[in-house]
C-alpha cells in the first residue's frame, strides 16, 4: 500500500513517514499544499494524510480540488484540537476521517488501516476469502486456521490482493502500490513473489489472468 503524507512540520512529517514505513507502507511526502496536490494528482495512493494548515495552498483547498476532479482516495485530515470549525470544513470538503493534534501515531496508523479497508469495502479489520483470513491489525494470515509465515513483501502483496477481492490486479498496479516511483518497472519480482505465495498457500488461491494480471476471489461469494 502506498501513502502520501502532506504535512509542513518537518519533524511530524518525518515521524509519520518513519512509522508508516516500519509498517510496510510505501510513503511519499510533501511539505506544502501545492506539492501535495501535485503528487496526489499524479501518483496512485491508497490513502492520503493531509494537514489542514499548509503553506502555499491550505489543506481544504487541496482536498476540494481533488474531489472536484473525481479523486476518491480516502483522506485523513490532521486538525488542531481547538479549531472545531476546521473539522466541519474538512468533512464538507470530502475528508473521510480526521485526527486532532497532538495525537499518538498509533491512532493515525489504526485510522489509516481502517480507511484503506473501508475504501475497499471491508467492514471488519479481518478480510476473509474462503479458507483464507488476513488480519489487517495484527498483519497475520491464517489458512483454515493454521498461521502462515510470510515475509514482508509476501504479506504486502497478499494484502493488496485481498483488499481487491474479485478484481483483476495488473502487475503495474501492484508495482505502483508496493514500490515507489523509481522501481524498475519491468522486473519480475511480482511473478517471483506470487510463486512464493502459491507455494505457501496452495496453487489455486491466486489465479492468473493472462495478459491482465492476478486475481484472488471468494469461492462462495458470487459476483464481483
Amino acid at each position: 500500500m502506498r501513502i502520501l503524507v502532506v504535512e509542513d512540520d518537518k519533524d511530524l512529517n518525518r515521524q509519520l513517514c518513519d512509522v508508516l514505513q516500519d509498517q510496510g507502507y510505501v510513503v511519499d511526502k510533501a511539505f506544502d499544499g501545492e506539492e501535495g496536490h501535485f503528487l496526489g494528482d499524479t501518483e496512485p495512493y491508497d490513502a492520503i494524510i493531509l494537514d489542514i494548515g499548509l503553506p502555499v495552498m491550505d489543506g481544504i483547498s487541496v482536498l476540494e480540488r481533488w474531489r472536484k476532479d473525481g479523486k476518491k482516495t480516502p483522506v485523513l485530515m490532521l486538525t488542531a484540537r481547538d479549531r472545531w470549525s476546521d473539522k466541519v470544513a474538512g468533512i464538507d470538503a470530502g475528508a473521510d476521517d480526521y485526527v486532532t493534534k497532538p495525537f499518538h501515531v498509533e491512532e493515525v496508523l489504526a485510522r489509516v488501516r481502517s480507511l484503506i479497508r473501508r475504501a475497499a469495502g471491508h467492514a471488519s479489520s479481518e478480510i476473509i476469502c474462503g479458507d483464507l483470513r488476513l488480519d489487517t491489525k495484527s498483519s497475520k494470515v491464517t489458512i483454515s486456521g493454521t498461521q502462515l509465515k510470510l515475509t514482508s513483501l509476501e504479506f504486502r502483496l497478499l494484502d493488496y490482493l485481498m483488499h481487491h477481492i474479485g478484481e483483476v490486479v495488473s502487475r503495474t498496479e501492484l508495482v505502483e502500490h508496493l514500490y515507489d516511483q523509481d522501481f524498475d518497472r519491468d522486473s519480475n519480482t511480482i511473478e517471483v513473489f506470487v510463486g512464493r505465495l502459491r507455494k505457501k498457500m496452495g496453487n489455486d488461491m491466486i489465479e492468473t489472468i493472462r495478459g491482465m494480471g492476478y486475481r484472488i476471489s471468494d469461492p462462495n461469494g458470487g459476483a464481483a
Copy 2:
C-alpha cells in the same frame, strides 16, 4: 453488423431479412413480441427493426422493457401510416426512428445504416480515419484516394472496426457481430481476414492488442 427483425407478417419479415442479408448483415428474426424481446435480450445486435403491432406482446411494451433494462441498441419502429398516436408512443418508449407502412425496403436500409452510424457517433455517411475512408452508403473504401477491392467479409470486418474507432474490439465481439449464433467460436477466420486487410491496407492501420483484440484508431484524433 447483426440485426434483429421483429415482424409478425411472414412475407414482410422475410422480405426485410432477404434484403438485409444481401447487404451483408447478419439477420435474426422473430414473429412475436415475446420471442423478439428474448432475442434482443440475449444476443448482441447493432440495430433492431421492431413492428408495433405484434402478437403476445406489443412492440411498445417490448421496447419499454429493453430500455428499462438499460439496453441502448438503436431501434427502428414500423408503424401503420394512419396511426399517428403509435409514432408518439414509440418515440416516448425510446425508439430512435420510425418508418410508416407501406414502405420501400431501400428506405429501411438507409435508415438502418444511419442508425448504426449514429449509434457509433458518426454524423456523415462516410467514416474517416487518417487516410482511410469508408462510405457506408456505397460500401466503398478508399485509402489516400485510391479505392480498395474488398470481399464481402473483408468489408464487413473493416466496417465494424471503423464504427468503433479507438476502441479495442475483441475477437468474440467480432464473431458475434459478423456471424450468427452457430458459428464455430474458436475458428481463426478473424485472424486470417485481419491479415488480408493488412495486406491490402498496409500493416499499421489495424493494431493488435495482445490478449484483448484489435483496434483501429485515428492518428490525429487524440482521445477515445
